[in-house]
Every structure is written in structure tokens, then in C-alpha cells.
């Protein structure tokens, strides 16, 4: 399953040139600054821009020099950057619009599922002007899901939602994605959201793909600007080792050792991915005792890099077969005498499971 | 005799407009007075006059409306007279359609005969009388073969455009230069319809009674005027 793209478009001084073949499975995050062409790219994939391009989804040619499958026959779901609800329908009408246009046997999400997934129970008879910004966004997501698409395009779908709603919706969305196996192309500015959700990452810069590939490998690459983000971090593969119900902890074995994280309802041996943010990682020369930091693994410093803020340094540490990022002050780096190749202990304050 | 040439405002029934234009032109040459002509249907002009329209003279297409104005005191006493008497003709623009005796009406080999509205147009009333005399009024109405023009011009247009096979129109409309008539036609006997007299009068509101009277006098007495009227297909009224 893959999405093959080749397009080139110029609008005034802006130009978008994309050539690539990205796996269409799980969540592919489209990450880039404002105005780099993320929305434009989604529109091209959806068939909303008429321009010479080549778009192939899972071996179905959607567009090339000789043919153009119009948007309504591409079986996509599109959550627009602005919620764009139908003003002449209430919430239920909006939700049913796409649902009705799928044959019953092709429906993979029921109205009730979508409604409870996005917490719309009390809003069904509201008209769009009677909704708050975040409520509108949730309706738009539910509407797209109910079209049972083969590919879901989401343009910053959670930007107007509060953390609690996000925390509620994201895991359910992830489960739905896995259950239904709908690949998602997900535009976001928030690296945190991306790290949490994405399997693949496409990094756009000024209309060009700067890098594309599995999230893990891109996050810790020294040549990409991702380390500079507040929420920079790394993603590790591992397997559930055991559970500690007393402290509500689960242990995950990664290449470099054992990590404790919040209790998960997963059988031992289950393969998981965990996320470790650079800001949660500190370095020590000895494994500390008597600290609340519970995860400490030995590693080897790969390199140090100055950040935008000269008081900070980003240290890449090889832990087992993985690379972790650690953000430390320059003073600490000097005082601890951190140099390339040196052995250190990484103290990890917090490890998050990426629902996989 | 008067120091300055006058301008008279004349309301004229549409069917006489062309003829009155010729008359006005002639009159201007003999008297220096000019006529400004406002045409319309007789009913409309009548309504306007009752609402105080600024006309000096009124040339109606019938005798009824002038009579009414006279009785309402809107006319200069004694000024009402018959300026022309029309002649009805059944006419088709195509040759060989209307026979010289009007048998075609009885034969019924046509789609439509056009005529003016008998209730407000004198030519329409005359046409109805002719058809009644022929015993065809009822049957034609039943068969919906009569198309009714609002006025005599429209009636002519129905036939001229070929949509009606023939039309009861005014002889004045189909008389070309030199008295020639194109197409085919039938002149119903005058005894079959009441004379189509058209009356004129001077309106009481006129501010130029002398000039108006002078024009009326010229029209009633001048042989040149009678000539123009006759050439247009009317008979002049009694002097």
C-alpha cells in the first residue's frame, strides 16, 4: 500500500514540487511551517486542484497525463483546515451526508460509533452556528470518518481542541485507524501530536520535501531541524516485558535496557513503540540513587550540537541500538565533560507509549 | 393674423396618427402653426383627458368617447365633428386568399381571421356586424378561429406577419401610394355594418382656443385636407 505523488505547481512566488512514494499505512504526518504547502498538497491528493500531476494510490491511478479520477470517486475523507460544515444541515445531517453515500455493506463506521468517538451526543440537533469552534472541528472529523474512506486526509484536525479532548480523541482515533486499517495523512504543526500519532513523517519546507521516512529514523537525524523543537524526542521499538500492578507500571524491553511506563493492558511479548522527549532526558556520570527518576540506562555519546538557544545543547546518545536525544545546559555538558564517544547514564523522567 | 405661430397639442387615436401627421405638415405650411401629436388607444387617451392631460384637440377613433367628453363638459361646445369615416376591408397579404365576394369565410378553409376588439374598436364592431350578417359570428367564435387585436394596428400585424390568414382591417391601412392594394381583399357591403365614424373635438381646457378653432375650421373646409384624408383610405366626414 503506497501513495505515489509527482506534482509541480506554481502560484505567484510560491511553488510546490513534490515527488515521492510514501507508504500508505498507519499515520503519515505532513509536518512543516505555516505556508509551506501542506494544504495545497492535500488538495492535490484529494483531486480538488486541477493541475498536471501523477497521483497513484495503492496501484489505482487517480491522476496522470491521461486520466483524472474526480474527487468524489477517490473514496477519500477530508477534514478541511476550516471545519466547513454544511450550513443547511444540523449536525446529524452533516454526519449522515457521507454515510448515506456509502452502500450499507461498505460502511465501516456507524453513526453511533462516530458520535461517541467524538463526543457529539448532545449536539446532534445543533445547527453549525450553534456550535463552538472545537465542536465544529469534531463534527468535521466525524463526518469524514463516516464516509468510510480508503484514505483519510486531515488538515490540522485538532487545532481548536483542548488537551483533554485531544487526549480523549487521539487514542480512539488510533484504535479506529488500526481496526479499520484506514491510512491517514495528517497535517500538523505540533511535533508532540506528530510524535504521538505518526508512523511515517514527511517534512515539507517551502514547497519541497526535505525528508520523508519512518518517524523514528527522522526524529534523531542530526541534519534535520526536528531536534530544535521544544518537543523534540525519539521513538524506540520494544516489547512488553512484565507488569507491576502495585505501582501501575509496565516494563518494556528496548535494545538498551528496561523502561518503566504507565501500566498497559498488553500481554508480555507485545511489540510496542515508546516515545522519549529530549527535555525529559538528563545525563549523569553515575546511575543516581534516591531520585524520583526511575529510568536510567547506560549509553554512549554520539555527538553534541548547540541549539538555537546557546545555553542549551542537544546530545545524541546511543543506547543499545537506538538513539536518544537529551537536552542539557551547556554548563552541565562542560562540567560533566561530555564528549563524543564517552559513556554516560541517561536518566529518563518520562516514557510514553505510542498506542501501537 | 396672429402675431406668433401656435403649437397645438393633439391627442390622436393611433390608427389616424399617420394621416394626421400628413395633415399637420400641410397645415403648418398654410398657417405656420405646428401640431404636436400624442397617439394612443382611444380608451387610454380618453382616460388621460379625464385626468387633465394637456391636450388642445382630441381625434378619437370612435364617436362614443367624444360624445362622453362632450356631455361631461370637457369639450368646447359645438366643436365635435366627424373628421373621417372608415371603410372595412377583409384583407390578406397573400394574393388569391380572399376572394372578391368573401366566400372564404363561409368555406372555412383557414386557421385564423384577425379582427380588432369589437368592444372598444369601431373596426372590430363593424367586423362583428359583417360576420353576424354572414351568420358566421357564432360558429367562428365557437371554433376559436378569431384572433382579436387590441387595436386595428395589431390586427393588421396579425395578418401581415402571416400568422392569421386574413384580417378585418381599415382600408386606410392597406392602401398604398396611388391607391394600390397588395395581396387580396374583399370590401364588405357598407350596408352590413354601421358607418365607422371618427369624431374629433376641441378640449375645454385648451389655452389656445383660437388656434384650435382655426385648425378645425381648416380641416373641415379645406379641400386639400379632404384630399389627404381620402388618399389615406377614409371618407371625409360631413363638412
Amino acid at each position: 500500500m503506497a501513495l505515489e505523488l509527482s506534482l509541480s505547481l506554481t502560484r505567484g512566488s510560491f511553488s510546490l514540487q513534490v515527488d515521492g512514494r510514501w507508504p500508505a499505512r498507519g499515520v503519515t504526518a505532513l509536518f512543516g511551517r505555516s505556508g509551506t504547502g501542506k494544504t495545497t498538497l492535500l488538495r492535490c491528493i484529494a483531486g480538488l486542484e486541477r493541475l498536471p500531476a501523477r497521483v497513484v494510490f495503492n496501484d489505482t491511478v487517480w491522476q496522470d497525463a491521461t486520466q483524472f479520477v474526480p474527487a468524489h470517486r477517490r473514496s477519500i475523507g477530508y477534514v478541511f483546515q476550516e471545519p466547513s460544515l454544511f450550513p443547511h444541515y444540523d449536525v446529524r445531517g452533516n454526519l449522515e451526508y457521507g454515510l448515506r453515500r456509502r452502500a450499507p455493506e461498505a460502511r465501516r463506521v456507524s453513526l453511533d460509533e462516530a458520535v461517541s468517538l467524538l463526543g457529539l451526543e448532545t449536539l446532534l440537533s445543533h445547527r453549525p452556528p450553534q456550535l463552538s469552534g472545537g465542536q465544529r472541528q469534531r463534527v468535521a472529523i466525524a463526518r469524514a470518518l463516516l464516509a468510510s474512506p480508503r484514505l483519510l486526509l486531515m488538515d490540522e484536525p485538532l487545532s481548536s481542541l483542548d488537551e483533554i479532548s485531544k487526549d480523549e480523541i487521539l487514542p480512539r482515533l488510533e484504535r479506529l485507524r488500526d481496526a479499520l486499517d484506514i491510512p491517514i495523512l495528517y497535517v500538523s504543526h505540533a511535533l508532540g501530536e506528530v510524535m504521538r500519532l505518526a508512523d511515517e513523517l514527511v517534512l515539507l519546507e517551502a514547497g519541497r520535501v526535505r525528508a520523508a521516512g519512518p518517524l523514528q529514523s527522522l526524529l534523531t537525524r542530526a541534519d534535520l531541524p526536528l531536534g530544535g523543537f521544544d518537543q523534540a524526542g525519539s521513538v524506540l521499538e520494544g516489547a512488553v516485558a512484565e507488569h507491576d500492578p502495585q505501582y501501575h507500571l509496565s516494563y518494556v524491553l528496548v535494545s538498551g535496557g528496561r523502561l518503566a511506563l504507565s501500566l498497559q493492558a498488553l500481554p508480555p511479548g507485545h511489540r510496542v513503540r515508546v516515545r522519549i522527549d529530549a527535555r525529559d532526558v538528563s545525563l549523569a556520570l553515575q546511575p543516581s540513587q534516591q531520585s524520583s527518576i526511575s529510568n536510567v540506562l547506560p549509553g554512549t555519546v554520539l555527538d553534541l550540537r548547540t541549539e538555537v538557544d546557546p545555553a542549551q545543547m542537544l546530545v545524541r546518545v546511543k543506547v543499545g541500538a537506538d538513539v536518544l536525544l537529551a537536552r542539557v545546559t551547556r554548563r552541565s555538558a562542560v562540567q560533566l565533560g561530555i564528549t563524543e564517544g564517552m559513556g554516560v547514564y541517561v536518566q529518563i523522567k518520562s516514557v510514553a507509549l505510542m498506542d501501537k | 393674423p396672429r402675431a406668433m405661430a401656435a403649437q397645438l397639442h393633439v391627442a390622436v387615436a393611433a390608427n389616424f396618427l399617420g394621416t394626421l401627421q400628413k395633415l399637420a405638415e400641410r397645415y403648418r405650411r398654410v398657417s405656420g402653426d405646428t401640431l404636436s401629436l400624442s397617439s394612443g388607444s382611444t380608451g387610454q387617451l380618453y382616460a388621460q383627458i379625464r385626468q387633465g392631460a394637456p391636450f388642445d384637440l382630441f381625434f378619437s377613433a370612435d364617436t362614443q368617447r367624444p360624445q362622453l367628453l362632450d356631455s361631461q363638459g370637457l369639450a368646447v361646445a359645438g366643436s365635435r365633428f366627424t373628421y373621417a369615416v372608415g371603410t372595412l376591408v377583409l384583407w390578406s397579404p397573400r394574393p388569391g386568399v380572399v376572394d372578391r365576394r368573401g366566400q372564404i369565410i363561409r368555406r372555412g378553409a383557414f386557421h385564423f381571421i384577425a379582427m380588432a376588439n369589437p368592444r372598444n374598436a369601431p373596426y372590430g364592431a363593424a367586423a362583428q356586424q359583417v360576420l353576424t350578417a354572414l351568420g358566421q359570428w357564432e360558429p367562428l367564435n365557437q371554433e376559436k378561429k378569431l384572433v382579436i387585436g387590441a387595436d386595428i394596428t395589431q390586427t393588421w400585424q396579425f395578418a401581415a406577419s402571416g400568422n392569421a390568414d386574413m384580417a378585418f382591417v381599415a382600408l386606410s391601412q392597406v392602401t398604398g401610394p396611388g391607391g394600390r392594394i397588395s395581396g387580396s381583399y374583399w370590401l364588405p357591403p357598407r350596408s352590413d355594418y354601421q358607418p365607422i365614424a371618427q369624431d374629433a373635438l376641441i378640449l375645454a381646457r385648451t389655452t389656445q382656443p383660437a388656434a384650435a378653432q382655426a385648425f378645425e375650421h381648416w380641416l373641415r373646409t379645406s379641400s386639400a385636407a379632404a384630399q389627404i384624408i381620402r388618399e389615406a383610405g377614409y371618407r371625409p366626414g360631413a363638412p
Partner: protein, 230 residues
């Protein structure tokens, strides 16, 4: 009010209804093209659409009559295929009224379509709605205001139309004599009482009809529309 007047009234209402319905049907594609297309022919076509208004109705009616008549281009063609000329028939009335009321239908519809914007259509397309489906489920309801105005103008204007109708219909009582012609006839023959009665009836009928339409539809339109994210 006489029986003839009632019949004329019925013909008028029927004529207005048929004309309005046909115009809405035929003008929708034209207005769509004018409102959303990008051809450089749009400006001239826009201009041409308004031209039927420029001529006095009787004159327009006369030209139509010539065009439809046996010697006219269309009339001749019709005769060749064995169809009777539509002059002096209800069909003729409908044709004439449609031509004359064309701008009243095209222009409000065009404005409504132009004001729709593309986003709602894009959303519908991503929800698998085909172009026709989008038209029915999105364009129609969101242009309801334009359709209402178009229908009201066409209907009212056809009710009152007189010149074209008289010319092309031939004022045949019971067939092509409409209420407007009947009123005109009454007025011409100084039957002002009858004219007033028929006028009043026409006005009252029209008022009640329009009132019903506005009272029911406006409300809905208003609820739908004031909300826009622009």
C-alpha cells in the same frame, strides 16, 4: 365578475405557473454557467440575457410573431416537420412569456450560484457526492433564496404581462385571453368597475400567494444563511 374573467384569470395563473416552472428548469444550467464558468463569452451572454427587457413588449411580441409565423424562420421549419405554428395558442403565450421573463430568472439564479463559493461543493465531493448529487443536495438548498426571487419575479411578471401576450396570443377568449388582457379590455371599453374588480382579484390572489411563499420560505432561508465564515 363575469365567467370570461374567471376563465381569463385561470389562464393567467396557469400561464404564470407553466412559464415559471419552465424558466426555472431551463435557466438553471444557463445561470450556473454564467455564475461559475470562466469562459470569456460570459460577459456578452450576460448582456444578451437582459435584452428582451429593452424592447417594448408589443414590439418584442411583433418580432416574435414574425419569427414564429409561416414566413418566419422557425414557423417555416415547424411547418416542414408538420407541427402547427405556436402563434395564437397557449404554447405561443408560454414561449413569449418565457422570453420576456428570462432575465428575471437568470439573473437572481446567477447571483445565487456565484455567491455559493466552491468550498461547500468541495466538501460534498470529498464525501462522494457526484456533481448531480452535489447540485441537488448542496447547490439547490443553498441557493433557495435565488430560486425564490427568480420564481416570484417570473410569476408576478407573467401575471401582469400584457404586450407580448396580447401580440402572440391573439386575445382569443377562453384560450389565450389572460386576466391582464381582460382588464385592459374592460378599461378600454370604460367598464372601470369590472376592470377594478378583476385588478383587485388579481392583486389579492398574487398577494396571498406571495405572502404564503414568503412567510414559509423566508424564515427557513434566514435561519440557514446569516452564518458564514468569511
Amino acid at each position: 365578475m363575469g365567467g370570461d374573467d374567471l376563465i381569463a384569470l385561470a389562464i393567467s395563473v396557469r400561464l404564470a405557473a407553466v412559464t415559471t416552472a419552465l424558466l426555472l428548469l431551463l435557466c438553471t444550467p444557463l445561470a450556473w454557467w454564467l455564475g461559475t464558468g470562466s469562459s470569456r463569452w460570459r460577459a456578452p451572454v450576460n448582456a444578451v440575457v437582459s435584452l428582451p427587457l429593452v424592447l417594448p413588449p408589443t414590439v418584442l411580441g411583433f418580432y416574435l410573431l414574425v419569427f414564429l409565423g409561416p414566413q418566419g424562420p422557425l414557423g417555416r421549419a415547424l411547418t416542414l416537420v408538420g407541427v402547427a405554428s405556436p402563434a395564437f395558442s397557449f404554447t405561443g403565450l408560454v414561449i413569449g412569456s418565457m422570453i420576456y421573463s428570462l432575465p428575471f430568472v437568470v439573473q437572481p439564479l446567477r447571483d445565487a450560484f456565484e455567491g455559493l463559493g466552491t468550498r461547500v461543493l468541495e466538501v460534498a465531493a470529498t464525501l462522494s457526492a457526484s456533481p448531480w448529487d452535489r447540485f441537488v443536495s448542496v447547490v439547490l438548498p443553498l441557493s433557495s433564496r435565488g430560486f425564490l426571487t427568480a420564481a416570484v419575479l417570473a410569476f408576478a411578471h407573467t401575471l401582469g404581462e400584457f404586450g407580448v401576450v396580447l401580440m402572440i396570443g391573439g386575445n382569443i377568449p377562453g384560450r389565450t385571453q389572460t386576466a391582464s388582457i381582460a382588464i385592459f379590455n374592460h378599461a378600454e371599453t370604460l367598464e372601470y368597475g369590472a376592470a377594478n374588480r378583476l385588478s383587485a382579484t388579481l392583486v389579492v390572489i398574487a398577494f396571498l400567494l406571495l405572502l404564503t411563499v414568503y412567510a414559509s420560505t423566508r424564515g427557513r432561508g434566514a435561519r440557514v444563511q446569516p452564518w458564514r465564515w468569511n
